[in-house]
Symmetry: D2
Subunit: 342 residues, 4 copies
């Protein structure tokens, strides 16, 4: 089959011809219908420090997708051939403390699709049956391909007390934009979106942001305090991973408020712990992945309610053959989510 | 001044001529601009068992209002003459365990305006300065007069995890209707409103209910299970106080779900504790009054956000002189909130 | 093999000769070393209304036990022959909403060992591998046989905010007694234990109760209010299932306090919802089973800490052949936990 | 009266003769019986950067004390002359958002005794009546003088889920030591105490620590992981303010665990946010002061329960005249709490 892989420890991506995956116990083979590009894929493409530390070539990458089950191991009981499914990309061991106490997304022996095992930038991909999530018939296949990153936003946004709060979101990539939309339909009083790209701030407005700030032009912390009678935002979602944004997040939150950390910084970030965390009694929570499958049920329900408009999120549709071009586009920041058809 | 009081221990209400209240320490005198009718007032009017147990005539009743401060005791520091204010009707002692741990709304020595002290069905009413809540200039005086019951709905709805849940609301009086609206703008996936009056169910639809059920015509429990794949509602708000509705609330909620009890039944209610609470691991919380002033800030913000449409709530505007007529109208159930002008 | 079963729909228990269980997928066969008697077993023995509604004879009963794995299906991966294990008695489907959101103990298609499938009053019992819990070597086999009911107490006690609270426990059967011990070592300020049997109140004192009340002799509600400056208990654990105790639980709790309901009443219980739940803003939570496996890890840690003295809990050691005698002893109430050796 | 003040912007402390404070509205005058030394006082004594930024000489310092009310303003209603009281040192405005929503300890216009207004290293000190906390007769005056720092430990320890957790405490000053004791009596499974001073580690053992680590001798992170099957501590209380300890706190906590930040670092601290907060989904909470008065009631109850042995905490008793000597002793770290008699 056709696939795209990191074949050597260097920047770039290579089209290869690979065998169709052979199924092990409890695995299903999915014919990929739509797959989409994540920031993680771009890290691997660029071959930055994080990628060098985590990827062992050769590796087929990609982990956001939707498709049809075309084969199932004999012991599979939850799904059958012909089912349309999306995938939870965190493959948990099922036996560690975290897995056995309802937190398999932070499994002590976690494997990630397209990072630790072969992924979805291919015609076919295999996954454990427990990672397959049936797509409701009313959800279009393109939407289904981005359920995984939408789930990140659901997990992050619902970890704080959004309803009734002034919400500030740093970073308007696809997950940040999704968080803007979710906050809007989950009772946030105001949603302030912050980025350095006007392209993305315009998308944030379409997703429902009540205010946008280009942090290259204005100090977001000053603006937020001005807008909240000097009190600060009740909830801050940090979805950029940017150094300055992370520091600003703690300065923008009000006494007793909550900071959700989701965006991954590439190196250590110095924080003013005394003034910005302790004297303000801030609540902080790191967020990764999706609660399996609480987040998925929640997302399913949000989509069924019809309140969340996700159309502005997908800005580009391309062929999987154009993957290199898609990667370069991610690098410019002038895009929302890019979906690819094999 | 003109006032309406329960003057004898019997049904009815009497117009009287009373002295303007004399201010004590930290009290302010408010000229009532608009006052509205609560179910409690109707209990007192009817002189039912609850009223007989709680009211010592003569007593000027009424506790929902907005008006202008026209006099302030010398030691008042938070407000001044000319301020427009609404009022928290729970007068707390400030010194008991509950008051000193942030729960003054369940003060161990609580007094209620219009029940334990003279109330607002009058030209003037006095309140402690700490019970006065400044009305933002953008909030119309009529809206301000119903902040107190809107606050009940805010306290009840936010006590559960509305965002992302299927919400069922039993009882579509003014507080139930407000809860319908709040759930709608706070991320509820579906809002099912239940009552026995079609008049009120129509108002529920206007407030945003995604489905209404007349429980005289259809079994609400069966409907809710049908609508949730047999699982039950994630959150049930019981705002009716009706015997059957309370029992249905526990049958309608899903395993692990939440039942908020707000409506006051007039007598004991038998519950199937084993099947409906324990085997289902239901969370239950009684709700009374408003968190002082957390609820008020939250309500303030909700109103400022402009998302909550409260217009359908107020169905009748009358003169305070028509109080007897207003009371009879409450008895029919064919009304939302009735506001009165002195 | 030798086993004890309900063979006909009538009171009593019968020794039978049964086949050793045949293993299905992911099942293990356990040779029972110690098994203990639960109140549920006594319900079945007596053949009361609950039993008649839930048991379809013939059925081998019993569900609390510890033993050695003597056979494992070929697809079993978590345990091996020779392992000493206890068992989670709730057999979950693994595929419903509750199972997939971390609440498999309230699975929508739950089966219970010794109720819905054959149980442990036998020489051998089979269980799904996922229900087997390895026994730490430092835990004696006798203790291991009562991990399941100890887990009930852990789940119930930790569902409330025990640390720093005045705790009242209604019902001093084995689970109530365990809750007394757990509250004592988990920072409860006072632990008041209530029962109608002096035998059990003496055990409660041994488990650490700071006060015991025989509710046939004194009004527990009055005592609790007297002991808490009239405020009421912060946490009430209802472990008796007794009608009057359940009503007293709601009268004994303070404003804003928590009532945990665990004991199963045999019929509906009338509650004064207005005065005892709503005006007091009480939090209520039904509790059943154990969180799988959060509760087990927690219990494991409690036992390892060595703080909880469980010795007073086991009051009688008998042969499984004496099951009928053991059942009659449970009926008198003059016992703690009875453990049986096959 | 005799008092000790920072009279010039330079290191040291000076004995002065000052007027007895004149009472304003709602204030009481307390004759100091015992006062104790806090780390904050030592910051001011040393005249470090923090002190230079926060103290405007001349200022009488000190804020931990107990004494007798000898005078009360005419409008005081909660206390009377002759009452023995301790003091909450955070003086809140009572009118801001935080104050009106139950969080006056993080008041937006907070003043601190001995920092922003004159303090307790004197014969007399005045405080608002609402800051006076009556001392139960069974609490010795010496214990009463350290209720304020004990309250810090109560607030910090109860902000996490101590019961049932492996708890690690960095920093064994008086507040850290108190947290060791509180964790021990609140159901912690293990309590590991870490410091660089063996003197303080010995005190930690007396307070109930199950293990102590001198972090100059052993890597605490490695030890903690070894002791928890590689999982990490469920709760980490950072009470040292030390740079390295703060970083270690985040490395020592397990996936999904909680880090409480209480100790104040003197400058920014670089954190590995990706690996140590996000991928581990850590919960973090800053803690300052005491919840007013929830923490005080809780502390009161803990002391009444008799379970917490606070005797090891107070290591030195001196005359207030020896304040300079006491300060130097704090600097060595070879002490627990030092109490002073005027």
């Amino acid at each position: 089959m056709k696939a795209f892989a990191k074949v050597r420890p260097e920047p770039g991506i290579t089209q290869i011809e690979a065998d169709r995956p052979h199924l092990g116990h409890y695995e299903v083979l999915v014919k990929v219908k739509v797959t989409s590009v994540c920031g993680t894929d771009y890290h691997i493409y660029r071959w930055d420090e994080w990628a060098q530390a985590h990827i062992k070539p050769p590796r087929i990458i990609g982990h956001e997708f939707a498709g049809e089950i075309v084969e199932a191991a004999p012991d599979v009981t939850s799904h059958q051939v012909g089912d349309m499914v999306a995938a939870e990309s965190h493959i948990a061991c099922g036996k560690c403390y975290q897995c056995r106490t309802g937190n398999s997304h932070i499994c002590e022996r976690l494997k990630i699709l397209g990072v630790d095992v072969d992924g979805s930038f291919a015609e076919y991909v295999k996954i454990p049956e427990q990672n397959a999530w049936p797509i409701p018939t009313e959800v279009p296949i393109e939407t289904a391909s981005i359920l995984e990153p939408l789930g990140n936003a659901v997990h992050a946004a619902f970890a704080a007390d959004i309803a009734g709060s002034d919400v500030t979101i740093f970073g308007c990539g696809p997950v940040g934009l999704s968080a803007v939309g979710l906050s809007t339909v989950s009772g946030a009083l105001t949603v302030t979106a912050i980025d350095v790209k006007d392209y993305r701030l315009k998308l944030a407005t379409k997703m429902g942001a009540t205010k946008t700030i280009n942090s290259n032009e204005k100090d977001p912390v000053g603006e937020i305090h001005k807008d909240t009678d000097g009190r600060g935002a009740g909830v801050v979602l940090e979805m950029s991973g940017n150094d300055r944004a992370i520091r600003d997040a703690f300065r923008a939150v009000r006494n007793g408020g909550t900071v959700i950390l989701f965006g991954l910084p590439s190196k250590e970030v110095p924080l003013n712990i005394a003034d910005d965390l302790i004297f303000k009694e801030v609540h902080v929570r790191g967020i990764v992945g999706r609660e399996i499958f609480k987040t998925w049920y929640r997302l399913d329900a949000v989509l069924k309610s019809g309140k969340l408009n996700i159309h502005p999120l997908i800005t580009h549709r391309m062929s999987l053959n154009q993957l290199d071009e898609a990667m370069k586009l991610v690098g410019t920041g002038d895009c929302g989510k890019i979906v690819l058809t094999p």
